[in-house]
């Protein structure tokens, strides 16, 4: 999986904001504000990654246990899917 390249991450002062571009503007219907962890995941998923790989990255970056990293990642990925931000291989 990876993020749809029609979404651009902007850092404005301390805020992380995803701006949809191209065809994505209709489905996203607005901007999305992320926290720092969300922005980190968004950056990691600029390249194709598997779920386990992503979880390992989160564990390393934030020094959190496996279960917390898994839970945080899956909640956030669900949200990304809702707005068409996440692209998964069929």
């Amino acid at each position: 999986m990876r993020v749809n390249q029609n979404f651009v991450l902007r850092k404005i002062r301390d805020a992380y904001i995803i701006v949809p571009l191209g065809e994505a503007i209709k489905k996203a219907n607005g901007i999305m504000v992320l926290n720092e962890t969300g922005a980190y995941i968004f950056e990691v998923l600029q390249e194709e990654k598997g779920f386990e790989e992503l979880v390992s990255c989160i564990m390393r970056e934030y020094e959190v246990p496996l279960e917390i990293a898994k839970s945080d990642a899956s909640d956030f990925l669900e949200e990304l899917k809702t707005f068409g931000i996440l692209m998964e291989e069929e």
Binding site: I12, V19, L21, G22, I25, K26
Partner: protein, 356 residues
């Protein structure tokens, strides 16, 4: 002071020129006037560079407007490069120059919102308001194309003497363009700003006509409410922010004029910095130093109509070419608003009218 300043909302006036000659245009300047003033519009590269700098300084929403931005031969290049930078893009246009090339660019890079100005429901009104009857058909064709984009569309109109009788038809026309399309109208037609050449006084409604037009329907409803059930009306005047102009201008928003100056808002023609020579960041930072402290105008301090007054520094500037001028048009609007509300309430025999 001003620690929270951030240039979140930008406006780029890509050109002062327009293919139409609308009688009430705030900005339009023709090529001869631009030459005679010794001024010039920015180049392709200058707009793209400024956009990059604005993005790096925190601009999130960017309005691209004019004049008519599509009149620029390099519109597609400027537009596409700016779009890729990740702004929330709003594009204002009269929709009469939507060529295949423009549509190709907009299909690849659809704006988040398009504001389309529509000033009449037929060629005759377009001829009177915009100086071209044929522009009506070109606008229809342009709207047809633009509404195929995933962008949200807002039809914007401005009412003057020449199209007031056509207002309902304009509204119906706008609604016929699609279910999701929104419609808005200007609250006030003010005099031109900076070097604008339109003769606004000759075409705009009188202050009284404008208030009747803007609030007529609302007052009718209010009148019915007063018959059914007396309502309490509480008047409070909000304390305006003392910083700069009392609004977001210069605090969270700015305009880059067609000749490359950074100003507080599009209405203003004074207090500017020069992002072309200083760079955007410094121009934004030093902008506050150009604005004098705005004290209350003596003539307004004890005005009994101030509750109804919509004057702000920028409107004062447009109307009088001074931040401290007395904008008679707005004074008459306020006085008339007061009168009709007073009349409305007294004719209903209500005792609820207080404090004004």
């Amino acid at each position: 002071m001003h620690e929270e300043r951030i240039p979140l909302n930008g406006t780029f006036e890509l050109t002062a020129r327009c293919n139409l000659k609308c009688k009430m245009c705030l900005v339009r300047v023709d090529e001869d006037t631009i030459s005679s003033l010794g001024l010039r519009e920015l180049t392709t590269k200058e707009w793209i560079d400024l956009a990059k700098q604005a993005r790096d300084c925190g601009t999130l929403q960017l309005l691209l407007t004019g004049g008519e931005p599509m009149l620029r031969k390099d519109f597609c290049e400027i537009y596409t490069e700016i779009y890729k930078m990740g702004f929330v893009i709003v594009l204002y246009t009269n929709a009469t120059l939507v060529s295949d090339k423009v549509m190709d660019a907009l299909e690849k890079c659809p704006p988040h919102q398009i504001g389309i100005s529509v000033y009449g429901s037929n060629p005759s009104i377009y001829d009177k308001v915009c100086g071209s009857g044929n522009a009506f058909y070109r606008m229809l064709d342009g709207v047809k194309k633009l509404t195929t984009l995933p962008s949200s569309i807002n039809i914007r109109t401005t009412i003057i003497k020449d199209n007031i009788e056509d207002y309902k038809n304009i509204y119906m026309l706008a609604k016929s363009f699609g279910e999701d399309i929104t419609f808005s109208r200007s609250r006030i037609v003010c005099r031109t700003t900076r070097h604008g050449i339109a003769e606004v006084d000759a075409c705009r409604l009188s202050p009284e006509e404008n208030i009747d037009f803007i609030y007529g329907a609302y007052l009718e409803r209010l009148s019915k409410d007063l018959i059914d059930k007396p309502i309490e009306i509480e008047y409070t005047v909000e304390e305006k922010k003392s910083e700069l102009f009392g609004c977001d201008a210069g605090i969270q928003s700015y305009t880059i004029t067609w000749d490359g100056k950074l100003i507080g808002c599009q209405l203003l023609g004074e207090f500017m910095t020069d992002p072309l020579t200083e760079g955007f960041e410094k121009a934004w930072e030093t902008f506050v130093e150009t604005v004098p402290e705005l004290k209350q105008i003596d003539a307004c301090r004890d005005c009994k109509y101030k509750l109804f007054c919509m004057a702000c520094p920028a409107l004062r500037y447009c109307e009088t070419k001074s931040l401290f001028g007395n904008p008679k048009y707005l004074c008459r609007e306020a006085e008339y608003s007061h009168k009709i509300l007073e009349k409305l309430i007294s004719t209903k025999g209500s005792e609820i009218y207080e404090n004004v």
